[in-house]
C-alpha cells in the first residue's frame, strides 16, 4: 500500500513495460523504429498515433473523475464535432473556423453536462447519459445520416503529418498533457479539483467555488472530446456519425482507472492516465498482431479492468497487505 501511495504510476508503468517486453520477446520487430525520409515509422509510432485519441479523451476524463464524476457522453461528442467539421469543410469554410466551431461544440456539450451535474445536482452518470443518448442522434442530424468525406490538406496533416520527424497528432496531445499538468500542478487549481472531489461540502466551507470548479472540469472534458472529434475525423478523412467515438468513453475511463486515478474522486494522476491510455492501446495493438479478431478484443480489456479495480478495492488491498505482513513476521 505504501509503495503505491508513494508512486501512483508504478503499477501502470510496470504493466506497460511488461506488455511491451512480452511483445518484444515474441515479435522482435515490435520495438523497431525505422527512419524513412526523415520521418519515424514503426509499431511504437503506430501505437502513439492510434492512441492519441484515447489519450486526449482520457485527459479530460481524468479531471471529471477527479471531481468524483464521470462523463459518458464523450463518444457522442466526438461524433458531433466530427460531423461539424465535415459539414463546415464541405461548405468551403476555412480550416481555422472549422476547428474553432468543433471546439465550440465540444465546449457547449461540456457546459451542458457541467450545468446539469454541478448546478442541478444530478448524478453524473445520469446527466451525461442524456447527451450520450441524444448526442449520437444530433450527430446523425448534422451529417444528414450520411458518411461525409473530408478533403483538405491541412486536415490530413493533422492525422498523417510529421513535425520534426514525429507524427503530429501525438505531439499535439503531448503538448496538451504538459500544459494541463503545469496549469494544474504549478497552481492551486489541481488541489482545488481534488478537494472538491474528496469532499464537496468541506471544500465549499473552505471557501472554494465548488460548483464552478466542477462545471469547469466538465467543460474541459467536453473541449478535449471536441478536439478528439477533429482528430478522429482527420484520421479517416470522413465523418461517420454512427461509428465515430464508439466505445471511446469506456477506453477513456479504463485509461484513467488503470492510471491510478481513484473513481471515487479526490485524487488524479495525469501521467498515470497517459500510461494507462498507452497500455490500453498497446494491448489493442498486441491483439491485432496476434490475429485476435477485433470483435473479441474487448474481452481481455474487460478482464484487465476488473483485475485493476479489484486490486484497488479496499478488501483485496487489505488481503494482500495481510499476506505481506504474515510473510515478514
Amino acid at each position: 500500500m505504501k509503495l503505491r501511495a508513494k508512486s501512483p504510476i508504478l503499477w501502470p508503468l510496470a504493466g506497460l513495460v511488461a506488455l511491451v517486453l512480452l511483445n518484444a520477446v515474441f515479435n522482435p520487430a515490435f520495438l523497431k523504429i525505422t527512419v524513412l525520409g526523415g520521418h519515424l515509422y514503426g509499431v511504437p509510432m503506430d501505437i502513439l498515433s492510434q492512441g492519441s485519441r484515447t489519450l486526449l479523451v482520457a485527459l479530460g476524463m481524468t479531471l471529471v473523475i477527479a471531481t468524483g464524476g464521470v462523463d459518458l457522453s464523450v463518444g457522442s461528442v466526438v461524433a458531433i464535432t466530427g460531423g461539424v467539421c465535415a459539414v463546415l469543410l464541405q461548405d468551403g469554410h476555412s480550416f481555422a473556423l472549422t476547428i474553432a466551431a468543433a471546439l465550440g461544440a465540444g465546449l457547449l456539450a461540456g457546459t451542458a453536462n457541467g450545468v446539469l451535474v454541478a448546478r442541478f445536482g444530478i448524478q453524473p452518470i445520469v446527466a451525461t447519459l442524456i447527451l450520450m443518448v441524444a448526442g449520437r442522434g444530433l450527430a446523425q442530424l448534422i451529417v444528414g445520416g450520411q458518411v461525409i468525406i473530408i478533403k483538405g490538406a491541412a486536415f490530413e496533416y493533422l492525422a498523417n503529418g510529421f513535425f520534426l520527424g514525429l507524427p503530429v497528432a501525438p505531439l499535439l496531445v503531448a503538448a496538451l498533457y504538459l500544459a494541463t499538468h503545469f496549469v494544474l500542478r504549478r497552481t492551486a487549481l489541481g488541489l482545488f479539483i481534488e478537494a472538491v472531489g474528496d469532499n464537496e461540502t468541506a471544500a465549499r466551507f473552505a471557501g472554494l467555488a465548488a460548483t464552478r470548479i466542477k462545471t469547469c472540469a466538465y467543460i474541459f472534458c467536453g473541449a478535449c472530446a471536441g478536439l478528439t472529434g477533429v482528430l478522429a475525423a482527420a484520421n479517416i478523412m470522413a465523418a461517420d456519425a454512427y461509428r465515430a467515438g464508439e466505445n471511446m468513453e469506456l477506453d477513456a475511463i479504463f485509461a484513467v482507472v488503470v492510471g491510478g486515478t481513484a473513481l471515487t474522486g479526490g485524487r488524479f494522476v495525469i501521467l498515470g492516465t497517459a500510461i494507462g491510455a498507452l497500455l490500453i492501446q498497446t494491448l489493442t495493438t498486441t491483439m491485432y498482431n496476434l490475429g485476435v479478431p477485433p470483435a473479441i478484443a474487448p474481452v481481455p480489456k474487460a478482464l484487465l479492468i476488473i483485475g485493476v479495480t479489484l486490486l484497488q478495492s479496499e478488501k483485496v488491498g487489505r488481503w494482500i497487505g495481510g499476506l505481506w505482513r504474515r510473510k515478514t513476521t
Binding site: 444530478i122 447519459l129 443518448v133 442530424l141 445520416g145 470483435a295 474487448p298 476488473i306 479489484l310
Partner: protein
Amino acid sequence: MDRWTLAEENDVSAIRKFLSRNLALVTTALIFIALFGAASRMYDGFFSSRVFVGLLSDNAFLGISAVGTTLVIFSGGIDLSVGAVIGFTSIFTATLIEQHHIAPGLAWFLALAAGSALGAGMGVLIHFYRLPAFLITLAGMFLARGAGFWISTESVGVDHPLYTKISGYELAVGSVVFPSNALMLIAVILLGYVLAHHTRFGRTLLAIGGNEHSALLMGLPIGVAKVSVYAVNGFCAALAGIVATFYTGSGNPSMGVGLELDAIAIVVIGGTLLTGGRGHIFGTLLGILIFGTIQSAILFDGRLSSWWMRIVVGGLLLVFILLQRFFLRRK
C-alpha cells in the same frame, strides 16, 4: 355528521392519497394519453388496436429487459450490460439449436443460466468488493459482447419447428390480436409487478435504494438482495435475447447494441427515480408505451429520419430527470 358526507370525504381523501402516492405514475399515464392522442389526430389509422398492440410487440425484448433494469434501478444500481447479454444469448441459443442440434428447451435453459450467472458475478463484485456498478457492468458488457462474437461473427438463422410455432402464435381477445412476443412481455411485466411490489425481495430492493445504510441497520439481507437483483436482471436480459431470436428468426451477436440506454430511458420516463428507492413496474410499462408511440409516430410520419428517435428520447430523459430533481428538492 351525516354519513353520506363522511363517506364522500373518505372518497376524496382516498383519491388524494392515491394521487400523492402515485403522482409520477399518473403524470406518465397522462403524457402517454396525450402523445397517443396527438399522434392519432395527426396520422390517419394511428388510433387502432393494431398500432396499440404493436407498441408492445415491436418493443417486446426491449420491454422485458427494461423490467429487469427497473429492479436494478430500484436498488440504486445500474446495469449497462443488458444489450450485450441480449446479443450473446441470441447467438448462443441459435448456434446451439442450429449447429449442435440441441433441444431448444435445453438451449434456453443454458442461456438463462449463463445470463443469471454473469449478473450474479457482477453483483458479487459490486456488493462485496464495493466496486462502482457502472464500471463493472461496462466490463460485463465488453465480456458478453466479446463472447457473442467469439461464438460467431455472423448471424445464424434459426429454422426449428418450435420457433415457427411460437413466433406464429397469436391470441385473439375479442377483435384484438396479441402476437406471442407481446404476450411474453405482458407476462414478464406481471411477474415483475408481483416480485417488485408484493414480495419481501421487492421491498428490500426499494429500501436499499432509499438508503442502503438504513436498510443494513434494519437487518435486511442487502448482500443477498443486491446480488440477486443483478442475477434477475441477467435472467431478464437473457430472456429478452431469446424473445428477440423468435422475433427476428435468427441469432445475431450484434443485436441490442445501445439497448441498455433505451431501457434506462424507459425506466426513467416511467417515473422510477434513478437514484433508487422509488418507482413502479407499471411506470415501466407506460415508459415502453411512450417509447413505442414516439417510434410509431416517426414511422407513420415518414418524413422524419430515424435519428429523431434518439434526440426525442434524450429530450424526454432530460425533462423527466429535471422534473424528478425538482420534485425531490421540494420534499
